[in-house]
Symmetry: C2
C-alpha cells in the first residue's frame, strides 16, 4: 500500500475519524518502546547546578527569540524555541492521508518562556515580574499570530512534576498550531450560541453574577476578577479574567497588564499558601487567530491545581468529580491571598 | 439571595454555562480544604491484610447487589454500591439553579465490581474470569439501564495509583448518571454525521481498514479486534471492539463474551508484559440508555495506559501529545501478547 511518508524528525497531527479530535505524534521526541518503562518513574531534575534553563545558551538550547534585561544587562526573561518541539517550524503543512484517516505534518511553533529565578515560581514573583511575563506572552503571540497556517496559539504553564513539568526551573510554553480543536470549539460555539440566545456575553454574565454573589471570588481589582468557577473541574480551580468584555488576549494593554499580573500573582499565591505549593497547570484561553472574528468570546486564564487524578470516569465521559464545593474552596483561598 | 439548598450528603451535578460540560461536586466525599495538602501525597493501600475488598461485608461495605460463586460457594466476583458514591441513589433529580447557572442533585448509581484475587489484575486472570467480569458489567448495566432518570451508564476500570485507583485490590466501577455529557456527545454526533455522509459506520470503516493494513493490530480473534488507534491520545493506547456492527454493549451475547474476554485479557497482558505492569484506565463506550436509538454508534473499550501526564497544552486544547507512533507501539505490544 502506497501512502505518503514523512521524515522521522517531523511530528504528525492526526485526526480522530469520529470526533474530529486532534493528536500530535511528536516523533522528534520519539522514544523506543522499552523507554516507557523507566519513563513512568522518571524524576524531575530540580537542582540549580544542573538546570538547563539557568544558562540556556551554554546548555545547548536554541537561540533566543526574545530577551528582557535589567538596566545592568542581566537577563530577567528569555524565550527560545523548544529543543524537543511538539510541532516544528518550517514548511507548510503537508497532508498525510491514510485510508479513511486524515493527518498532516505537525508544523507550527513551540517556544519556552523562562523567568530568571530558578527558585521563584510565579506565586513568589513580584507583580511587575508577572506583568513582564504577560508582556512576553503577548509579544510572542503578536509575533506569531499572523504567520501562515497558524490558526490557534496556546500559552500554558506547568508547575511541578505531577502537572507534567519535566524541568523544575519556572517556565511557560507557547504552542502555535494549524488547527482549532473540537475542545476549543466547545467554548467558541457555546459562547456564540449564548450570545445569539441572550444578546450578551456568557462570560460577562458569569462575572457580573459572581461579583454580585461574591461567594466564589478569590481576588479582584479594578480590571480583573479571580474566582472558583461554579462548575469547577478540579478542587480549587481558579479562573482569572478581565471584567471588561474582550475576546483577544493580545489586545491587553500595558496598564491592564499590571492588574492582570496582580490577579495572577494573588491567585497563584493563594494556592501556594493554602495548599502548600501544589502542582498546577494554567493556560490562556483566547480567540483563535485564524482570520475570523470572535466577538462573542471572552479571553481568560484557567488555573487547574492537581488536587486529584482524573481517572476512568472523567476520561470516559469528560465529567470531572470534585470533592469540595467551589464556594468552600474560594473562601479558603480568599483567606490566603494577602501576602 | 434565596436559592434552593440541598443537604450536604447529596452530590451536585453542575453544568458549565458556556460549554454545557458537566461536573460532579461529590460532597458525600467532601474534604476540608486543609485535607488537600496531604491528599497530594497519599499512598495507595496495597497490603492484602488491610484490604477493604477482601471481605467486603466485614469491612463495612454496602450489601452486595450481585455475587458470583464457585460450586464450593466461595465468591469469585461481587458488586456493591460504592461507600463514597459520586452520585447517590434515591430521589428524582431536583433542579439546583443559581443565577445564570444550571445544576441538579447528583442522583444515580455508583457501584464497585470486585474480582476475588487481591493480586491478580485483569492481565493475569484467565479468559473465563475476564468473561465473567464482562458478565457482571452487563448484568448490572441491564439492571440499571431502564431506571428512571438514568440516561448514560459508564463502566470503567482504574489500575494503579497513577491512574487514580485508591484501593489496590482489582475493581471496576459503574456510574449511572442522568446526563449525557458533551464529550460523549462528540462520538455520538461524529458517528451520526459520518453515517449520514458515507452511509456506513465510521468505526466499521476504521476496523476494516485496520484489519487490512494490519500495522496497528495488537490482537484479533473471530469476533474482536484490538488495535492502537491511528489518532492515539497516549502512547500504547489500545481499543478493543466487536468486528460486527453493534451500538449496544448490553447486547453482547454469551458466546461472544468469551471472545471479548480473550481480546481484553490479551491487550492488558501485552501492556503488563511490555511496559512492566503500567498504570492504566479503561472504559466502555456504549450508546446512551436515554430512550433513543443510536444505530450509527459502535460500542468499544478504550484502554489508556498512563505513559505520560496530560499537561497544560493537552488540558487547554484537548490535543494530546504522544511520543511514539501507534504503529511502533502496536508492533511492540503484538510481540508481548502470547502468554
Amino acid at each position: 500500500m502506497q501512502t505518503k511518508t514523512h521524515t522521522s524528525t517531523e511530528s504528525e497531527l492526526r485526526q480522530d475519524l469520529v470526533t474530529g479530535d486532534w493528536v500530535i505524534i511528536a516523533t522528534g521526541r520519539a522514544k523506543r518502546p522499552e523507554d516507557f518503562v523507566s519513563l513512568q518513574h522518571a524524576d524531575i531534575e530540580s537542582s540549580r547546578d544542573s538546570c538547563v534553563f539557568e544558562d540556556p545558551n551554554h546548555s545547548g538550547q536554541e537561540p533566543d527569540v526574545l530577551i528582557y534585561r535589567t538596566k545592568d544587562k542581566d537577563w530577567t526573561l528569555r524565550v527560545f524555541p523548544n529543543k524537543f518541539p511538539a510541532v516544528s517550524r518550517g514548511r507548510a503543512p503537508r497532508s498525510l492521508e491514510q485510508g479513511p484517516y486524515f493527518g498532516m505534518t505537525g508544523t507550527g511553533y513551540h517556544e519556552v518562556i523562562v523567568t530568571r529565578d530558578h527558585n521563584r515560581s510565579i506565586a513568589l514573583l513580584d507583580v511587575n515580574a508577572v506583568a513582564e511575563l504577560a508582556d512576553a506572552y503577548q509579544e510572542r503571540y503578536l509575533n506569531l499570530m499572523n504567520k501562515k497556517n497558524i490558526r490557534y496559539i496556546s500559552i500554558i504553564h506547568n508547575h511541578g512534576k505531577g502537572a507534567g513539568a519535566s524541568i523544575a526551573h519556572p517556565h511557560s510554553q507557547l504552542f502555535a498550531v494549524p488547527v482549532i480543536s473540537p475542545y476549543v470549539q466547545l467554548e467558541l460555539s457555546g459562547s456564540e450560541q449564548y450570545f445569539k440566545s441572550n444578546r450578551s456575553c456568557a462570560y460577562c454574565t458569569m462575572f457580573t453574577y459572581e461579583l454580585k454573589r461574591r461567594e466564589r471570588i478569590v481576588f479582584e481589582n479594578s480590571d480583573f476578577i479571580a474566582f472558583c468557577p461554579y462548575a469547577s473541574r478540579s478542587a480549587f480551580e481558579v479562573w482569572v479574567a478581565p471584567k471588561k468584555h474582550s475576546p483577544y488576549f493580545e489586545r491587553l494593554n500595558d496598564s491592564a497588564k499590571l492588574l492582570f499580573g496582580e490577579a495572577m500573582k494573588n491567585s497563584l499565591y493563594a494556592l501556594y499558601a493554602g495548599l502548600s505549593n501544589p502542582d498546577y497547570n494554567f493556560y490562556v484561553h483566547t480567540a483563535p487567530c485564524d482570520g475570523n472574528d470572535y466577538p462573542h468570546f471572552h479571553w481568560h486564564v484557567e488555573i487547574l491545581p492537581k488536587t486529584s487524578t482524573w481517572a476512568g470516569f472523567e476520561l470516559s465521559t469528560g465529567i470531572e468529580i470534585s470533592t469540595i464545593q467551589p464556594e468552600v474552596a474560594a473562601d479558603y483561598l480568599r483567606k490566603q491571598s494577602s501576602y
